[in-house]
């Protein structure tokens, strides 16, 4: 990606694809989500696993750089918090956005919570943890 226009276009196309597929697969539907997590219905789990497999292959073919990343102290607690939040209200911040797009107004509350949570973490990290949290990907 060399030009800002290309980056912008990539963002837009990816966002559209993500929103469309996530909504249609059912990650926004709470009942489906619970069925996935309680292993009653493997469909969504398979779609997630399938996506990972596709990405592994694609990244290998495209020779995307492997970035090391460290398993730092925040990873496990953070993942625990995230998993709990996911089971309660839906997960990856893209989900409440798609829920909102489907007309579920309470998703606004979730998004508000996510924003607060992010701010909270940045504040907490600056004051207490000072962790090198890395980033997702790259």
């Amino acid at each position: 990606m060399r030009t800002r226009g290309a980056v912008l276009l990539a963002h837009i196309l990816t966002g559209l694809a993500l929103g469309y597929t996530v909504a249609n697969i059912g990650y926004g539907d709470y009942a489906e989500l619970n069925r996935m997590f309680t292993f009653q219905d493997p469909r969504m789990l398979l779609s997630f696993a399938g996506a990972v497999v596709i990405i592994v292959v694609a990244f290998a073919l495209l020779r995307v750089r492997r970035t090391p990343g460290r398993i730092h102290a925040g990873v496990i607690p953070g993942a625990v918090l995230f998993g709990t939040g996911w089971a309660i209200s839906g997960g990856c911040p893209a989900i409440p956005i798609t829920q909102l797009a489907g007309g579920y107004l309470p998703a606004l509350v979730t998004i508000a919570g996510v924003t607060v949570g992010i701010r909270l973490c940045r504040w907490a990290n600056a004051r207490y943890f000072r962790l090198d949290r890395g980033s997702c990907g790259l």
Partner: protein, 151 residues
């Protein structure tokens, strides 16, 4: 490989190719933020671009809802939520908010969400992502069973 010596200040970066970190746009809304890039050759995408990502996700979801006939303005979260979690609107709002806070805080703390670590990180087979994904899937499973069987 990006040499570790070239890693800029250790702050979570806003990844440009970020289908997996939409929350980074909210992070960059703070004018005092100094999100330094991790990889030396990449800079955080401009705010407009990240906002465009969020808007596009919304549009994609909206198109999906409309084309499948599922679009319906409602002020609850569907029968699943009502059955499994709570039917009380006030409790629902509280729980959604708390859940959102957990998601936001946890994502930042762990360095990625289910898309960031789960898709992108595992796609690159990074150990930290595999660990993170396993932990949050496991936790979500545990909490979901709790909701399903106990509460």
């Amino acid at each position: 490989m990006t040499p570790t010596a070239q890693r800029a200040a250790p702050k979570p970066a806003s990844a440009p190719q970020a289908a997996y970190e939409p929350q980074s746009s909210e992070a960059d809304a703070d004018p005092g933020a100094s999100e330094s890039p991790v990889a030396s050759s990449l800079r955080p995408a401009p705010l407009v671009t990240q906002a465009a990502l969020l808007v596009s996700i919304f549009l994609g979801g909206w198109i999906a809802a409309v084309t499948s006939g599922r679009f319906q303005l409602r002020s609850d979260m569907g029968p699943g939520f009502r059955n499994l979690v709570t039917a009380d609107p006030i409790a629902m709002v509280v729980l959604l908010f708390v859940g959102g806070v957990l998601v936001g805080f946890g994502t930042r703390l762990a360095g990625g969400c289910n898309s960031g670590h789960g898709l992108n990180g595992c796609g690159r087979l990074r150990p930290v992502s595999l660990v993170a994904t396993a932990v949050f899937f496991g936790t979500a499973v545990a909490v979901s069973f709790l909701l399903w069987k106990v509460i």
